[in-house]
């Protein structure tokens, strides 16, 4: 047995790692570090006068009752989008996994929404749900329901959740379908021979075997709801009415880019960074244990 490394040059490994390290540093650590630094500073838009204020940006943020509402909005929004997008995707995947005629066609069509840009998805939902020009919106009004998501916060939340979940269903569907197809037929046949009903088979065999996929998608979906739904909210409600559909990422954008308050926006980014780190830690530490791989 030869234990000696093939490369005994000490510099070479670092050299080979350098491109990756440089990219990580320039595109991840540098901006994150800058955000951390800015969160302790109060400055004007042009950065002409800067003042170190310690934790003032954070204390201001958490003293603001509206920020508490934004946190609550984000929790409701993320939970609803994740639950909706995953349960529908699982349903579709189970149905598309059957031996039915033209299933390739169904599958392809189900993947389409994923290719739709968030802003376009939002426009589609405006055409569906807008109280004056939307198809469903006008039907609801005609049916005597006081439908107006531009003024009703709960209805606005419902519409953005629906649009955001609709966009994510395709992605989840793909993974669930792949997961279902990798379940050995023999296991299912054995269960069927033992007399397990389709529902029973799903609950006791398929779902546990799908758990790695489900877990992976849970992480992806929560991250999606947290960070990638900005376009949908911006085009549909702009965070309104009032602050009913403002989420953490949307508020950080508004404060930083529209209101040009870099201190507060950076503090919010730091809060988000910590939240995501905590979330990931919790998921991998506690949920991971219950997943069968």
């Amino acid at each position: 047995m030869q234990r000696k490394a093939i490369f005994n040059n000490k510099l070479l490994p670092y050299l080979l790692l350098a491109p990756q390290l440089v990219i990580t540093f320039v595109f991840f650590f540098w901006p994150a570090g800058e955000a951390l630094w800015y969160s302790f500073i109060r400055q004007d838009a042009f950065g002409i006068s800067k003042q170190f204020v310690w934790f003032e940006n954070f204390t201001d943020l958490f003293a603001d009752p509206l920020y508490h509402q934004v946190i609550l909005n984000t929790v409701i929004f993320s939970a609803a989008v994740t639950a909706l997008a995953m349960s529908f995707a699982l349903g579709f995947a189970v149905l598309a996994d059957r031996h039915i005629r033209g299933k390739d066609g169904y599958r392809t069509l189900l993947i389409w929404p994923y290719a739709v840009a968030p802003a376009i998805a939002a426009i589609l939902y405006i055409f569906l749900f807008h109280p004056d020009i939307g198809l469903i919106g006008r039907a609801l009004k005609a049916a005597g329901i006081a439908w107006n998501y531009t003024l009703n916060g709960k209805q606005a939340m419902f519409v953005v959740v629906l649009a955001a979940a609709w966009k994510q269903v395709s992605y989840n569907f793909l993974f669930f379908l792949a997961g279902l197809q990798s379940i050995p037929r023999s296991v299912l046949e054995a269960a069927a021979i033992d007399g397990a009903s389709p529902l029973h088979r799903f609950r006791t065999v398929i779902f546990p075997l799908l758990s790695p996929t489900t877990f992976f998608l849970l992480v992806i979906n929560i991250t999606y709801a947290f960070f990638d739904t900005f376009g949908i909210i911006d085009a549909l409600t702009k965070g309104g009415p009032g602050n009913a559909t403002q989420t953490l990422i949307y508020r950080a954008y508004i404060d930083g880019r529209v209101n040009l308050d870099l201190g507060s926006s950076s503090a919010q980014s730091v809060v988000l960074m910590i939240a995501v780190m905590a979330l990931t830690l919790v998921q991998f530490r506690f949920i991971d244990r219950k997943v069968h791989y």
């Binding site: 109060r42 400055q43 004007d44 838009a45 042009f46 950065g47 002409i48 006068s49 003042q51 004056d132 020009i133 531009t150 003024l151 009703n152 916060g153 702009k238 309104g240 009415p241 009032g242 602050n243 508004i254 880019r257 529209v258 209101n259 040009l260 308050d261 201190g263």
Partner: protein, 445 residues
């Protein structure tokens, strides 16, 4: 053309990005201009620049569309921080205070023109336009470019259907409410009244027309320590009226920013409020007879409504470390060019924005432009019908974008029925004051 020429051309193209921009284009000095008008209006900006480039051979203005007004402003600020700003940035009127507080980052227009030896008398410009972009000594800090004002749009066919006069249109809010009630009672239109830009129309214009400050210290012109003045009785009166009208179904809220106007060109709203620059859209889409008139006032508060305020954007000259006198000269020449009567008149006619200069207005009137396009002068009349007072000259409030949104949000809560007019105004006042204090702290030097 032989192969060598093609080769030369190709290598030139490849090398172009590495050559300093100012020496490109056959010895002409290049001026970078970032703007935020899309669609048809954006095409007009490009045309304006082409006209300038064709008018002389010393400078070349390079106009680039950089997205929305917000994106142009944040982009230009980020570029300034990185040391590579454009020479000219088009900044919307609510960004004025932020730009004005930016000291070393901007070159005030009066200084720029003075250095270039160009004299443009501020008195040539429409009072309402000039005042908004001038400092307390009356010197212009940015260059007026595209200005509008909010006007009232009336669907004359809906008025006819309701049995209302189409020649004597309502002028006060009381008359408007009565007309809206009649429209509702006769079912002449689905929506009696809608509005775009709720804060701009229902608070900013309202305050200016009634000569009541939206903020103290002459709306912020006299110092960063201004305070929001939503406690003034006129705001409570007007907000209460809006909430009552919503309850009785005569006012229908259509969303933030420009969203509420969509129902007017579609023929659903009998009356609506929007920028005078909405004219092109109405002309193109409306399939009914319509009129645009000046904004209403509260007849029991004033008989002599003051001037309204402008909307739109102005041009800001940005500084950079190695920017030459020649480059600033080019910017100054561009400003002079767009202020020429002929150019200004052309801009006014093709865009629907108000002219920058009084001379262009007079010339348009002499040509009969307003008899051919009735109502095209509503915004101009509204802007120039009174000499601006400290309360009606415009707003110089730090974080004004945020303040506008705060008022919009609190109004939405009121319209949802979560709070009454007094609470709504109190909350908006408190939140907006926090924005002003933060701005004051961040910009104190």
């Amino acid at each position: 053309m032989n192969r060598r020429h093609i080769l030369l051309g190709t290598s030139g193209l490849l090398a172009a990005p590495f050559i300093a921009p100012s020496v490109r284009a056959r010895g002409r000095t290049e001026i970078q201009f970032w703007y935020g008008l899309g669609g048809a209006l954006g095409e007009r900006v490009a045309e304006q620049v082409t006209r300038f480039n064709a008018s002389q051979s010393r400078f070349r203005v390079n106009a680039t569309f950089r997205g929305s007004y917000v994106e142009v402003m944040t982009g230009a600020i980020a570029a300034w921080r990185a040391g590579t700003p454009p020479h000219i940035a088009q900044v919307f009127e609510v960004g004025t205070a932020t730009m004005m507080a930016a000291g070393p980052a901007i070159r005030p227009t009066h200084e720029l023109l003075g250095e270039a030896g160009i004299t443009l008398d501020p008195k040539r410009y429409l009072a309402g336009v000039r005042g908004y972009y001038s400092d307390t000594q009356g010197r212009m800090v940015s260059m007026p470019h595209n200005s509008s004002s909010a006007v009232m749009w009336v669907n004359l066919e809906a008025f006819e259907k309701a049995g209302l006069s189409t020649t004597e249109l309502p002028k006060t809010w009381a008359e408007i409410r009565a007309a809206a009630q009649k429209i509702k009672a006769t079912n002449a239109a689905e929506i009696p009244i809608s509005t775009a830009w709720p804060t701009w129309v229902m608070f900013e214009q309202l305050s200016s027309i009634h000569d009541v400050g939206l903020a103290t210290k002459a709306n912020g012109f006299e110092g960063l320590d201004a305070q929001i003045n939503l406690g003034a009785p006129i705001f409570a009166k007007h907000t209460n009226m809006l909430l009552e009208m919503q309850r009785e179904g005569t006012f229908v809220y259509g969303g933030r920013d420009g969203d509420g106007f969509a129902s007017f060109p579609a023929g659903k709203a009998a009356m609506s409020f929007n920028s005078s620059a909405g004219r092109a859209q109405v002309q193109r889409e409306a399939k009914f007879r319509w009129a645009s008139v000046v904004l209403p006032h509260h007849g029991d508060i004033t008989q002599l409504p003051h001037n309204g305020v402008i909307g739109g954007a102005s041009l800001w000259t940005l500084t950079a470390r190695n920017r030459s006198a020649e480059e600033y000269r080019g910017v100054a020449e561009f400003y002079r060019f767009i202020s020429e009567v002929e150019q200004d008149k052309w801009w006014h006619h093709v865009t629907g924005y108000v002219p920058l200069t009084l001379a262009a207005y007079e010339a348009s009137r002499a040509e009969g432009f307003y008899t051919q396009n009735p109502g095209a002068d509503a915004a101009i009349i509204q802007l120039s019908r009174a000499e601006p007072t400290p309360n009606s000259q415009g707003f110089r409030l730090g974080g004004f974008v945020e303040i506008r949104n705060i008022i919009q949000e609190e109004l939405e809560r009121g319209l949802q029925g979560q709070q009454n007019a007094e609470t709504l105004l109190g909350n908006a006042n408190r939140r907006a004051d926090v924005v002003l204090r933060n701005f004051e702290r961040a910009n104190r030097r």
